[in-house]
């Protein structure tokens, strides 16, 4: 079942390996990527989100779990008040809440903004975890070959034999609900993808001249893996990883939606949607705004990932 995941293989690194000037590899690569229109859009969206995440405390008028009835300027406001934007004709006598108020007297806009921080963190950590473990497994399997390869990759097949969400639900039920546990579960489920990418890279590079040469020169296996093979497998991993972040954010949100991930009152979008799904008909703003934020984040990573793949993969280069 080697071709299940539309994996990016080591081939994609060919056009970017700007030999001789290792210092400029990254800037050159970035330039190539940014020539893609989708990558530009992705970078723009992610830039905005990153800005919101960093400056959440300044952008958001309230804290993510600040009860509007208390604090320095207590407001007399009803639960589930729909959005009120003064510029759009909402009476200025009413307090302004761009995205409305939720069931706990929290300002939804502030929660959505603070949620950016959490979701970006979730995306990077989850995929980072999966990449590290996946790379390790894939590298060992690819380099060692034989029964080690067989056992490891069959193990990966086992993990891949489940629909991702169902396996993640089972794992979270075992280790308990929570945002960390949800990331762990989604991370584990994603490992095989990176293991396969890494293994494919290793297999395609292993027999190349410069690797054979290093081996002939007496370099140790570990050294070859770390110094020769890993750097060259990095590009496909990063492309796959960028595409994977969007998916990871989505899947963690799905667990939170089911009540197995982030626990209230944490301002995590999936959990906000799940907790308020019974209000979809009388206070849809509780669902729609976190929903848009979630889609936008995933969109950003997908566009950037697509752009990278298109830029780095000659077969799709147009």
């Amino acid at each position: 079942m080697t071709d299940r995941i539309p994996a990016v293989t080591a081939d994609v690194l060919e056009p970017v390996r700007v030999t001789g000037r290792p210092a400029n590899i990254w800037t050159d690569t970035a330039r190539v990527i940014l020539r893609q229109r989708s990558a530009q859009a992705g970078v723009a969206i992610l830039g905005l989100l990153l800005f919101l995440a960093i400056f959440a405390d300044i952008v958001a008028p309230f804290g993510p779990t600040q009860d509007l009835r208390y604090g320095d300027t207590p407001e007399r406001i009803a639960r589930l008040t729909p959005p009120c934007v003064h510029l759009l004709g909402c009476a200025t006598t009413n307090p302004q809440h761009l995205f409305g108020v939720d069931g706990n007297f929290f300002d939804v806009f502030s929660r959505v903004v603070h949620g950016t921080r959490i979701s970006l963190f979730i995306g990077f950590v989850t995929v980072g975890f999966a990449i590290v473990l996946g790379t390790l497994i894939g590298a060992v399997a690819g380099y060692a070959g034989g029964w080690v390869d067989n056992v490891l990759m069959r193990l990966m097949d086992v993990v891949l034999s489940f629909p991702a969400l169902i396996l993640a639900i089972a794992i979270v039920t075992v280790i308990g609900s929570g945002i960390i546990q949800a990331q762990l579960a989604i991370g584990i489920v994603a490992i095989p993808i990176y293991a396969r990418v890494m293994r494919a890279s290793v297999l395609s590079i292993k027999e190349r001249d410069y690797v054979t040469a290093s081996r002939a020169l007496g370099e140790s296996s570990r050294g070859i893996l770390a110094r020769r093979i890993l750097p060259n497998a990095l590009t496909p991993l990063i492309v796959q990883g960028t595409l994977g972040i969007g998916g990871a954010v989505l899947e963690v949100a799905a667990l939170s939606f089911l009540g197995l991930g982030a626990q209230p009152p944490l301002a995590e979008w999936g959990s906000m949607i799940g907790q308020n799904r019974n209000f979809i008909f009388n206070a849809p703003h509780l669902i729609i705004f976190p929903g848009i934020a979630l889609s936008l984040t995933v969109l950003g990573f997908n566009l950037l990932g697509d752009g990278m793949r298109d830029a780095l993969d000659p077969r799709l280069n147009r």
Partner: protein
């Protein structure tokens, strides 16, 4: 109040019937005025053949028996006697419960082992099961031979959805005639729309904020536990604005709890009412107790919607906010999976604060107080309070109302003083129906009866509740969703009045007790047939109880074999396995 009525009716019976020894004479000579078709010889059954030994302490073969029944026996075709080990003031309330429905002997014998009884119980009720499309709906049709007033419509359909929003939309779309538990936020919309009618349901339940004064957690240092200090518990009791919680998060019809037990239950609200909210006084008390700057703790809960807690996470968040704003107590929220949570609560492993509640099984004080604070209670609140345990014992065993009342005055005051928990609310709920459904109602025990309703000019009534019934042999069911479905097809000797809690005769025309309350004699209706056409007789009653009661009965199978309500209400099973060495 209504409950009291039921109890009075029970007490009025007086010792009319003397215990006739079982098996004496074959009562095949049915009095001729009884309109029985000749049903062959009737051999009255007694179970067990020799009365069970009350308070049996156990021997090599069997464990101890502390249950309520000594023997259940048929006297003739329409007379059953229950010989008890001790008097039981709530006997009629208990036998009216839907777990003790009477099923046909032949179908119990034939359908138990192959589990058919779980899907197609052969009862006597106004509706008969015709189809159970698992996961989707249950279809019942009217019982043409029903002894009571036959339903006015042909088909009754049960559907379910866990989302209140979805239930409401189905009602709005006209796809269903009635729904259970509309979301609190939708009450206003339903009441404001002339197409629908809302039927608020009084809350026979309690939601409370519990404390553990001595958590059973390995390595836990109880000297650092602020809740080991009664003064801290009292301060929190005073520092939570319960009115805010009820106003904001509970549907109309809910009440702030004045006592642990809802006031509709006799003796529930005797003694002093709960503390008034006073944030300043509470802060002062907390400071006196050594916590001028508050402390940090954890709020444990499970995210499970119940009548007593319609919105768990929002209420938890609200309590978190209030603790912070009113008392400087910083609480983190810990949501646990439901089963694990109950496990931990029972084991006393929840430190800090935990949110739980209780809904009435049968409307009596013992069902609320004894379960939580009595001698047999779990370690949920930590160390028990001995004087409270004692006084509850008095309340449960006295037969005189005055004695019971005195005991419960003291019990309620002790609870107020010790504050093992803060009772927050009795959560109201509701049902909502299309406005043209006549006789629509809600029942405080959640056992709505659809047989008497008239769904406009339609020939079917569609009901949408929270969840799918698990099984329809309700002797072995304990969830309200299953019980409600059972109540349409099966009947017990007594029944709760429609829309109320009083027990009134159903399959029995009456049950009377002797002077010391240890023998109950029930006379059955003589015009009842089961769905399969068989006649109801006294032996059906004996067997229906015996299969639940006796662990060694070959038909003691059920769905998972727990028969929870029998042991909970009647004190335990017969023929327990011997205690292990």
């Amino acid at each position: 109040m209504i409950v009291a009525l039921g109890l009075v009716v029970a007490a009025c019976g007086g010792g009319g019937v003397s215990a006739s020894p079982s098996g004496s004479g074959v009562s095949s000579e049915v009095p001729s005025e009884q309109p029985f078709e000749s049903s062959g010889t009737f051999e009255p059954m007694a179970y067990p053949e020799e009365p069970a030994e009350c308070g049996f302490e156990g021997d090599a073969d069997h464990g101890p028996y502390a249950g309520e029944f000594s023997q259940i026996r048929a006297i003739d075709e329409t007379t059953v006697e229950f010989e008890l080990c001790y008097p039981d003031v709530s006997f009629l309330q208990k036998i009216a419960f839907s777990s003790f429905a009477i099923l046909d002997t032949a179908s119990l014998e034939n359908d138990m082992e192959n589990h058919r009884v779980l899907a197609r119980p052969n009862g006597t009720g106004p509706f008969m099961i015709t189809e159970w499309q698992r996961g989707d709906h249950i279809t019942m049709v009217r019982n043409p031979n029903y002894w009571g007033e036959a339903p006015s419509f042909e088909t009754l359909i049960f559907r379910w959805s866990v989302d209140s929003a979805q239930r409401f939309v189905e009602l709005q779309a006209g796809a269903v005639d009635g729904i259970d538990n509309p979301g609190p936020e939708d009450f206003a919309a339903i009441e404001g729309d002339s197409a629908f009618a809302l039927f608020p349901r009084e809350g026979l339940n309690t939601f409370y904020v519990g404390f553990n004064n001595n958590p059973q957690i390995e390595g836990y240092d109880n000297s650092t536990n602020p809740f080991a200090d009664q003064a801290v518990r009292q301060a929190v009791a005073m520092g939570i604005d319960r009115q805010q919680i009820v106003d904001n998060f509970y549907p109309p019809g809910s009440e702030v709890a004045s006592h642990f037990t809802p006031c509709a239950i006799t003796f529930a609200c005797v003694g002093d009412p709960w503390y008034e909210f006073d944030a300043e006084a509470a802060q002062a008390m907390l400071a006196d107790a050594g916590y001028p700057d508050g402390f940090s703790t954890t709020i444990h809960l499970r995210d499970v919607v119940r009548g007593y807690l319609p919105n768990p996470t929002q209420v938890a968040t609200e309590i978190q906010t209030q603790l912070r704003e009113n008392l400087n107590i910083e609480a983190s929220i810990d949501v646990q999976e439901s089963g694990t949570y109950i496990d931990n609560a029972d084991a006393g492993a929840l430190d800090g604060i935990h949110l739980l509640g209780w809904g009435a099984d049968y409307p009596d004080m013992t069902n609320f107080l004894d379960y939580h604070f009595g001698g047999g209670a779990s370690a949920q609140f930590g160390d028990k309070f001995d004087d409270l345990v004692e006084v509850l014992q008095v309340g449960a065993t006295s037969t005189e109302d005055a004695d019971r009342e005195a005991a419960y005055v003291e019990a309620n005051n002790l609870i107020r003083e010790y504050v093992p928990m803060v009772p927050i609310a009795h959560g109201g709920s509701a049902t909502a129906f299309q406005a043209d459904v006549e006789n629509a109602h809600s029942s405080p025990l959640s056992n709505e009866q659809f047989a008497g309703m008239v769904p406009g000019d339609r020939d079917q009534l569609v009901w949408m509740q929270n969840a799918e019934p698990i099984g329809l042999y309700c002797a072995d069911e304990s969830d309200g969703e299953s019980l409600r479905a059972c109540e349409q097809i099966n009947e017990s000797l007594y029944a709760y009045e429609v829309g109320g809690t009083a027990a009134e005769p159903a399959l029995a025309t009456e049950c009377t007790t002797n002077e010391d309350g240890t023998l109950w004699t029930c006379t059955l209706r003589d015009d009842v047939t089961f769905h399969n056409g068989a006649r109801l007789d006294a032996n059906d009653v004996v067997l229906s109880y015996a299969v639940q009661w006796d662990l060694e009965h070959p038909l003691h199978i059920g769905r998972d074999g727990s028969f929870t309500y029998f042991s909970a209400l009647f004190g335990g099973f017969l023929n327990n396995p011997p205690a292990e060495e």
